[in-house]
């Protein structure tokens, strides 16, 4: 029997079927989860006696449930944003040191250590935060409050160890390794031709990094930071252990105000009534939306300079 030379190869069809099937199943599961969560959340939202978006207090287990994600969403965004601001510059420095400054042997060891730190479970960072950082931060916080109170975020009458600042520092330390690890990979991929172009013009190593490596790595670093931000926003245990879990909106990060959506779910799910669970699920959906918006914003930032980012 003669076979056509253009026959579709035999392995192709089953594989196509399997991969399409996997994709469809994945989407179906995600849709099912989404529908389930929304269905669970709706009765709680209907029973709510106050405005879900603006209310600061979380009291869904009462006879007259009243709850809102105002304070929780604020705390989530503020703590994660602070963590990002603290972690990103340090992570970029660490990544650059490993990729472009350290001798090869040391770079290999450091790279390994960073990868290892990125894999440490967050509860470990949380425990370290409670046991060590919370008592430790009292002194520096008092100092900041005494001498830098003119900067609004360090103002306020009350200074505590279990503060927004402490939680943000723990989050920063937690997300630093992952940002550093990804940034390092990106910096290592900066084209040698670009680096040599800068060096041949008489650039020092730091000038070369600024001219060639950082512009090349920019989208990758932004992606890494967004991944870190996502982790910080979704982080549950570490934050639940440290944040004071009071409901208020305040930029005074040394004070006893602060809570986050994820931490609130971890703290409250056990004793929640049916309405309480629905309320927590609703707050989880809001967290999902915030993450989505942040990611889309990051994509916009990356795409904005596409015209210039096309590597030669």
């Amino acid at each position: 029997m003669r076979r056509s030379a253009f026959r579709r190869s035999r392995g192709d069809a089953p594989f196509r079927l399997a991969s399409t099937g996997a994709g469809v199943v994945l989407l179906a599961i995600m849709a099912a989860i989404g529908v389930f969560l929304v269905v669970k959340a709706i009765p709680a939202l209907q029973a709510n006696t106050s405005n879900f978006l603006t209310e600061k207090i979380w009291n869904p287990n009462a006879v007259e449930p009243a709850f809102g994600i105002g304070a929780l969403a604020f705390g989530t965004v503020l703590s994660s944003f602070l963590a990002l601001v603290i972690a990103t510059p340090v992570a970029i420095g660490v990544a650059l040191f490993i990729s472009h400054y350290a001798p090869r042997r040391l770079a290999a060891v450091l790279g390994y250590v960073v990868d290892l730190l990125a894999a440490v479970p967050s509860v470990v960072y949380g425990l370290w935060g409670v046991v060590f950082l919370v008592p430790f931060m009292r002194g520096p916080s008092e100092f900041l409050n005494t001498y830098f109170a003119w900067i609004p975020i360090f103002g306020g009458d009350q200074v505590v160890g279990k503060s927004m600042l402490t939680a943000s520092i723990v989050l920063a330390i937690m997300i630093l390794p992952i940002i550093a690890a990804i940034s390092r990979e990106v910096f290592l991929q900066a084209p040698k031709t670009q680096e040599e172009a800068a060096l041949a013009l008489g650039a020092t190593r730091w000038e070369m990094i600024r001219m060639s490596v950082l512009p090349f790595g920019r989208p990758g670093v932004i992606s890494a930071a967004m991944l870190g931000l996502g982790r910080a926003m979704g982080e549950t245990i570490a934050v639940a252990l440290i944040l004071p879990a009071t409901f208020g909106i305040s930029f005074e990060i040394l004070g006893p105000n602060g809570n986050s959506i994820a931490a609130n779910i971890a703290n409250g799910f056990g004793e929640a009534t049916a309405v309480g669970r629905g309320a927590l699920i609703a707050s989880g959906l809001v967290l999902f939306l915030i993450t989505l918006v942040v990611n889309m914003a990051a994509r916009l930032v990356i795409a904005r300079r596409k015209e210039f980012a096309r590597a030669a």
């Binding site: 090869r104 013009l201 000038e207 090349f216 015209e307 210039f308 980012a309 096309r310 590597a311």
Partner: protein, 258 residues
């Protein structure tokens, strides 16, 4: 502005591998010197020892002397960064900075060197682009990215970037090998006109190109696989191509090997 380069007893290594051995030559100011030879004989390596770019490769090192008008480039208190500011380089593949505009590409080296006013920068960018025969093609889109240009234009942009800092010597490593014939001609014309101001060294695998653009030609060869490359002979280009002193040179030029 142009200066003489004197090389004596120069070896270059990649780790334990000796890539070139015992090279001694004098490169005259205001001339075009061409390096020719079979691939792998160390032309690029040697070129990169002249502006201390060789040592940026991990494990690479150089032994011997390179003097730029009496100054030892490998002297103990010589900063390789300042050597590279004095001796410019154009690479085999055009490598403009992709995130920078055409203007910023040309100004990049100047901004490293010090403070220039906006109008000074404008003037130097314009004269460098004119010097690289690119001004007319890009003057209306100076603030567009350099990566949007054609290959030949990108290479001329790289030449403009290199001459903007007023180097004393310009090193070019097969600058036309990635270009079409028309762009190649444009760059060859440019090399001839730059010769009045600069000492130019060009590596080329194209014999006609060496014959067209250079005043002096150096022929490199290697005894065998894994052996270091050596300078076989160096002479006036007309002489190398009509009446070379060595049999190996003649064989290479007439295409009997390589």
């Amino acid at each position: 502005m142009a200066k003489q380069i004197e090389v004596s007893g120069l070896d270059a290594y990649y780790g334990a591998h000796k890539a070139i051995e015992d090279i001694t030559m004098t490169i005259e100011p205001r001339t075009v010197t061409a390096f020719i030879g079979p691939s792998g004989c160390g032309k690029s390596t040697f070129l990169r020892t002249l502006n201390r770019m060789h040592e940026v490769i991990p494990g690479a090192r150089v032994e011997g002397k390179v003097r730029l008008e009496e100054q030892d480039l490998y002297g103990p208190d010589v900063d390789p960064v300042s050597v590279r500011r004095t001796i410019g380089m154009v690479f085999q593949r055009p490598n403009p900075f992709p995130t920078m505009s055409i203007y910023d590409n040309v100004a990049a080296g100047l901004r490293l060197n010090g403070r220039f006013s906006r109008s000074e920068l404008d003037g130097i960018v314009e004269s460098s682009l004119k010097g690289a025969n690119l001004w007319n093609e890009v003057k209306d889109r100076l603030h567009k990215p350099g990566s949007g240009l054609s290959g030949g234009q990108q290479q001329r942009l790289c030449i403009a970037r290199a001459i903007a800092v007023r180097p004393q010597v310009l090193l070019m490593d097969e600058p036309c090998s990635a270009l079409d014939p028309i762009s190649t001609l444009a760059i060859e014309d440019l090399i001839s006109s730059l010769k009045t101001d600069y000492t130019i060294v060009i590596v080329t695998h194209n014999m006609q190109q060496a014959a067209r653009v250079s005043d002096k030609t150096a022929f490199f060869n290697l005894a065998g696989q894994g052996q270091p490359g050596k300078l076989i002979e160096m002479d006036d280009t007309s002489r190398i191509f009509t009446n070379p002193g060595m049999k190996a040179t003649e064989d290479y030029i007439t295409g009997r090997f390589g």
